[in-house]
Structures are given as C-alpha cells and as structure tokens.
Amino acid sequence: MSKAATHSKASTDLPVLLPFRAPAPISPSGLASPMLLGGATLAAFAILFGASLALAQVTARPPGESAVTVLLRWAPLIFQGFLFNILISFLSMALGSAVGVLVGIAQVSLVAPVRKLAWGLTQFFRNAPWLVLLFYAMFLLPFEFRVFGLTIAFPAWVKAIIGLALPVAANVSEIVRGGIRSIPSGQWESAEALAFTRRQTMWMIILPQAFKRMIPPWMNLYAILTMATTLISVVGIQDGLTITRAALVAESRPELMIPMYLLLLLMFFAYCYPIARATLALERRFNVKA
C-alpha cells in the first residue's frame, strides 16, 4: 500500500527534478516479508522451546525422566484440551454472531426504543470484563431446566459458551452497525426512490455491501475470542489450560512449567496467527477494491 502510494506520488511530480532512486528491495506484493516474519517467529519459538527444555533438563533435581519424555506423554492430552478450546470458540462465535447481527441491525432501527435498547446492551456488554460476564453466566444460569416435564441438562461448558457469547455479540453488534453506517446514504436514498421497503433495502442492498467490510474485524474478533477461551479454565472446565496445569501438578516438577505452557502457547499461536494474516490480506484486498 505505502509503496504504491509513493510510486503514484513520484509519477505526478516532474521526474527530471527527482533524484534517481533504485526501487526498494522489498517484494511489492507485501507477501514475502510477512512469510519471512512468520518463519522467523516460528524459529524464535522453536529456539525458545528447545532452550526451555534444555534448561528444565539441567535444573531438574533430583534428575529424573527426560523433560522431552514427560512433555510427549502429556502433549496428546493437552492437545485434546486445546481442541476443546477451539470447539468452545466456534460455538460461542456462532451464537454471539447470530445474536450480534440482530442487535447490530436493531442499532440502526428507525424505532427509537429499539435502537436505544440495542445501543445500551451493546455498550454494556462491550465494556464489561469477559471474565466477570463468564462468572455471571456460570452462577446465574441453572444447571438444568424443565420444559414440559422434560429436564434439560445445562452443563458448565454450555454456560461457558453463553458467557463468552455475550461480549462477542456486543462486539459483533458494533461491527455490524459500523458496516451498515459505512455504506453511503445515496444507496438508501436511491433504494427508497425505487420504492424498496426499509427491510428490503437492508437485506438486499445495504447488508450485501456491508458484509465485505465486516469480515476482517469479525475474523479479528474470532482470534481474540479463541485466546480468551482459556478463561473457562478459571470456572473449572477441562480446557487446554486446565489440563496443562493438572499435568504440572501431577508431575510436580516446577522446572517443566516453562516448556509446558510454551507448548500450549504454540498451539494457540499456530491456530491464531494464520487467522491474523488472512485478516490482513483480506483488509488489503478490500481496501484496494474500494
């Protein structure tokens, strides 16, 4: 982007008056360098990981099993816990997005009470600590409820999904509102002049255009949510973090703390980093098109 900008700027000035400058040796696609950067980050992680393992090996006393063996023993279980984090992130994102889209649309409603209520809800849940909301969901929702004599269990992980979906919904609501507001008013005007109803205008004209602009921030929110799913370990759900802690307690080898947590961090990094890259790539593509 910045490169393209300097190019166009240079071409508008008188070239003879400009000092000769060789093109910068950076790939203009802007793709190579982030990949290198990603590679460097991974290498740094690997080195850090290896060093922490070596350190754990050296400082172990009395010297017992090799740190690598212990780690390999626990890795599958930790990975299972991590997968559970991913599952929770999917489900809270789905629930939060569904609710958030509706609240976001309500935020631009012509009916003042609806608009104000949606605005209030959005602001409240957007500016609340996620962990506090999670606690509320855990302790205020019943563990089971009865519908027509049928008892439906409401396990902790379902409550956790609801608890996490609250701030997600509020953030999605803001993304949707912003996306809708970013569409020029001329679109509303011409749709109205063609006798489209407001609902038709919203679903057939405004949202399809706004959707594209909502995807990058929405993906960004998803990456943040995924990392935040480790909060559920605080309320006693067997996620990746809980299992890692349990493994450390079971082994009672404090020197393993650094490599163990690093292993979990690596899993999250490997999952979230590509999402962040894809978000950036999409943002860049949409920017150019717009």
Binding site: A193, L194, A195, F196, Q200
Partner: protein, 250 residues
Amino acid sequence: MASRHELGEPVVVVEGVEKSFGALKVLKDVALTVRRGETVCIIGPSGSGKSTLLRCINGLVPISKGSIKLAGREVNDKNLDKLSLRRDVGIVFQQYNLFPHKNALQNVMMAPIHVLKQDKAEVEARARKLLAKVGLSDKLSTYPGELSGGQQQRVAIARSLAMNPKVMLFDEVTAALDPETKKEVLVTIQDLAAEGMTCILVTHEMGFAREVADHVYFTDGGLIVEHAAPAELFGNPREERTKAFLDKVL
C-alpha cells in the same frame, strides 16, 4: 423550440411549498406546474433549494407547508401509498447511486422484480430493451465499478425507467461528469423528452436548458425568482437577479 409536441394535463402541481431544515428555510412559497410531456429545467445558484424541491416532489423529503400534487395525488398525505407514488416518479441522482454489488442488468431489474413483483422473464426483456435504448447493450453484465461515470448515469436512467414512471426527475445528473460523457447523458435525456416523457431537471447546463426545455425556472434563496420559456428567460430576463446570474454563467 418550445412546443415540439402537444402538452397534456398538469402532472405535477406545486403550490405554496415551504421547507425548513431546523431554522434554515430552504424553500419559501414555491409554486410550479408541469404538464404531461413537458420538459422543465430548474436553474439557479447552489443552495437555492433546487435539489430539495425535487426530493419533495417524490416524497423523499417531507414538506413543511403547502401542497404537491402528482398525477392528482397529494404527495404529502400521510396515508399515501408510497409505492404507488414512487412508481409514478423516477429520480436520477448526481452521484448515480447504482448498487455496486449488482451488474448493470441486475440494477435495472431489481426494483420491478422485488418491488412491483413482476415476472422475471418479462422484466429482463424490458431491462435489456432499456439498456439498449441508453446505448449499453454491450455492458449488461458489467458492474458499476467498471463503468465510466456517463455509463453509470445511463444505467441509473434505465433503472428509473424500468418502473414505468410518469415523471422523471434529474438532479444535476451531469455535474460529476466530464464534457464528453456529459454529452452522452444529455442526449439520452433529450431523447426521452422527445418521446414525450415528462422531465424535471435541476441543472447547470444552460445550453441544454435553452435547447431542450419547454419552460425554465430560475430559483434563488428558496424562491422562484422568475420563470418563462427558455428563449425569453435566457434572451430577455425580467429580473435583475436572473440577469446577474446569467451574466456570470453564460
């Protein structure tokens, strides 16, 4: 030039219209009559209320006082069926306002299909004809982003015509165009007028107004200062204000 064709009964009758945005009075006691088949141009300096007047005529902007009758119906009636009003009057904007996620053909077809609930095959045949009429037969599946300003504006005209309006409003439709593309849009409008479509144009194209209009209104400060046949208004303006404006722009 004025009577190229027979003019019919009044289609748009504006009487004593006032419009304020807060404390700002944009229209003060405006009256105007447009008969079927007539082409009327509204000229005047920026901020004189021309565009607001157009938006009042199709009910996009509610008026504060007075009456606007379109094909015999009071536009400002709260119980008026907006759909039937908007069917009768099409508007084309300065900024085209095409739907960027739909191609040219879809842009023209959308409203008849979803608003008028007409048969899709019929609508498509009509849309193709309309786009051919504005000279864009080869751009049916092109998206607005890939069309020139003049082409977009012609799609916008076809889109409005697809509703089979009785009156067409044009709000400075050539203001954002370069001289070359301006011409193609003006020719399109001229053809429409020649076919007998009732047209109301807000425009800064004095040459076009002089040549094509049956009647020209000069507005300033929310008032209609003077109106007459183009030859008279341009050739022999009665009001000082009109003279001053024409001296500057011609």
